[in-house]
């Protein structure tokens, strides 16, 4: 097998519970973003754009959609005879099975996979983040510093630093201390969860740490252990767009940023393309009576109504007389005649019946999950059907093949949830 200088391991196993119904049946990295993409497309594209052609994707939670999406890696030019992209779920070893119990534990369980490529460096990434980064420059920095590990960091406002893992650095940005969500942060350098390690060093630390921590985690265990060992860890400063779309609000916000005339995250740059798996790609159509402004439309979507400040996924249909505003409509969803949607997220393959109104009313936080749905956004889960003439308020969640009888007098008040179980496929 051909040796690789560097291979990349993407942690894509997270459940993403703060995304509520959006991650009910799919892993967070597989959630769509920006119309036609899925969240993991951004790191996968960063890898191939940085000339890294060997990528492991560590999954364990609802990986079906992720597997289908990645396939054999054709969209990212990662379909290779050796290397390319490999999905790495947990497995049974010598009669004993083990789920991944922590970020570092997931890498620990795949030591053999990495060893097969005998790489000098390993790049650890998270499958949850939206950004553009040339990892080859970070690798250059890592080599220049003769580092054992290099961690990408973002300067955050000091008053927000307590939300992050903070790197305290000494001379030449050498990391001297790591604090997870410190109450009194000493620095504003937040870890982006992007690490380059010398593989031999990391392997040794992983084996060592596994003796003590069965749920070994990079932030909690590996980095502190290495600092303690006086290994050479450096911070690599990054100062461009980077988003962890971890909540409903931040997910919605990041999508909305794409429709600005000059977006802070630009998808349209020829020299740093993002790739995705989209088989069928007819063009977009805008009808005779349509009005589309400040919006982006993906392949095969058709608008016959009004769309303002919204993001439409592939194959979406907005029928005549419908109005969609400040919303995200995902792949394959149909919004029928006369609907009015305001600040909504409608997942894939839904059908919203005629004259349905969603997102009007008082801003009452969701009663069951007030920590998830409270910023006024109503969320419709995938493959949901909503009957004609229904009125749905703010911070609502709807999921399943709903019928008129599921609604109280055709109304779902703000903050209410309507989740029908057992309608998986």
């Amino acid at each position: 097998m051909r040796r690789r200088e560097i291979i990349s391991m993407i942690l894509a196993g997270g459940h993403g519970t703060r995304l509520g119904i959006l991650t009910k049946y799919i892993a967070k990295p597989a959630v769509t973003f920006g119309g036609k993409y899925r969240i993991i497309d951004f790191v996968l594209s960063n890898c191939i754009n940085s000339d890294i052609d060997t990528v492991g994707v560590l999954t364990q939670y609802e990986p079906l959609k992720l597997n289908q999406h990645i396939g054999i890696g054709i969209p990212w030019d990662l379909d290779r005879k050796t290397g390319g992209v490999t999905i790495l779920p947990p497995y049974i070893k010598e009669g004993m099975g083990a789920w991944y119990s922590g970020t570092a534990n997931a890498i620990y369980q795949n030591i053999k996979f990495i060893d097969a490529y005998n790489p000098e460096y390993v790049l650890i990434l998270s499958g949850d983040h939206i950004y553009k980064m040339d990892y080859s420059k970070m690798l250059e920095y890592h080599k220049q510093k003769s580092a054992d590990a290099t961690i990408a960091v973002l300067e955050v406002p000091l008053e927000e630093a307590h939300h992050f893992g903070i790197m305290n650095t000494g001379a030449e940005d050498r990391i001297v201390e790591f604090e997870e969500k410190p109450k009194e942060p000493k620095s504003n350098l937040a870890s982006m969860g992007i690490y380059i390690f010398n593989w031999n060093k990391l392997k040794q630390v992983l084996i060592e740490d596994n003796e003590y921590n069965k749920d070994s985690d990079f932030g909690k265990h590996i980095i502190p252990r290495m600092i303690n060992n006086e290994d050479k860890l450096y911070a690599y400063r990054f100062d461009s767009y980077w988003k962890d779309v971890g909540t409903i609000e931040s997910y919605w916000q990041a999508n909305m940023e794409l429709i600005e005339t000059l977006p802070s995250f630009n998808l349209y740059e020829e020299f740093w393309k993002f790739y995705t798996n989209l088989d069928h790609q007819p063009p977009q159509y805008v009808g005779e009576a349509a009005d589309v402004k400040r919006s982006i439309m993906s392949e095969g979507s058709e608008v016959y109504g009004n769309v303002y400040s919204s993001v439409l996924g592939p194959g979406v249909i907005i029928e005549e007389g419908a109005t969609v505003r400040d919303s995200i409509i995902m792949a394959g969803t149909i919004i029928q005649e006369g609907c009015v949607l305001d600040r909504c997220i409608v997942s894939e393959n839904c059908v919203i019946g005629k004259n349905v109104i969603i997102g009007e009313g008082e801003n009452i936080a969701n009663i069951e999950k007030p920590d998830i749905y409270y910023t006024g956004i109503s969320v419709i889960g995938e493959q949901t059907i909503i009957p004609d003439n229904v009125w749905i308020g703010k911070n609502c969640v709807v999921f399943g093949t709903t019928r008129l009888s599921d609604y109280n007098d055709r109304i779902l008040e703000s903050g209410q949830s309507l989740i029908l179980e057992g309608v998986e496929s």
Partner: protein
Amino acid sequence: MRAVGIILAGGSNENLTDISSNRTISAFPVGGSYRTIDFTMSNMTNSGVNKVAVITQYSSRALLDHLSSAKWWDLGRKQGGLFVFSPYITNDNPFGYRGTADLIYRNISFLKRSNEPFVIIASGKHVYKIDYNDVLKYHQEKQADITIIYKEANYEKASNYGVMVLDEDKRLIEFEEKPLEPQTSTISLGVYIIQRTLLIKLLEDLFAENRYDFVNDIIIRYRKKLKIYGYPFEGYWRSIRSIKSLYDVNMDFLKKEVRDLFFRQYPYIATKVKDEPPAKFNMNSSTKNCIVGGGSILNGYVEDSVLFRKVFTGSYSFIKNSVVMDGSYIGNNCYLENVILDKEVVVSDGRKLIGSKEKPIFLEKGSVI
């Protein structure tokens, strides 16, 4: 599917009659996202044909680029699923183009090495959707030697095509290529099903007699000796032969029934993936009855037009009844009506171009005006 496919993607007589472009018709953009050849390629693969030879006479670079990876049609096989044959020169074969049958004969080893009992021969310049399995079934039911797909056309148009006279059983009696006075309005679509071994034999016989044309030397010459049948096709079908027909076919995609046929009804048309981001409609844009390809950024007004991928329109520009191909740039305050912009055309600020529906203005690839 028990057939291999041959797509004739451009002979010397197959350039657009009214422009001096090196591009073969098969490589021309159609319907906002596709190239002409995608329709026949997808008909083949959607019918389960998994070995296709594309034979080109003038091997335009655009066509070769388009076919440079077989992945998009899922024809990437260990021993090759998609074969692109360009003419080549050997000591035995120093000739240029001599006819459609000659093109196939030169690649006869492709046929000899296959095992599939049937061959589907089609053209790369047609826009339609068909399941060749239905035709093959018909071919076998009729115990035909050759089956030709045909269509009833307007009588006036028939003289542009091969015109067929069929008996009651749909067996071919007469065939005339572009007749001055057509006997019928039954036109051949230039798509044939034939037994592989019979085709090999016919080609070898032809070559021995220095005959090289499929229609004249096989269909017409053997019309009585072989059992040749017609298979009626009734759906949407267009052949691209001129700037006008290129314009008309593109405009057809503004009709819902055409879009639904090709974009929404399974099976779909596959094409080379371009990885463009979503189309972007900025604040002051206005778009009515338009196709807009991925990666386009719109600031102006567009009506009744087909915009391909990565088109940019500037503020206060107005585009109507036009076809704008990939990567073209239209500045601010322009006015375009009944215009075709080929790929990567730049229209500077303030320009005005007005053609007619009968004779749209055509700007060649890469022009800057």
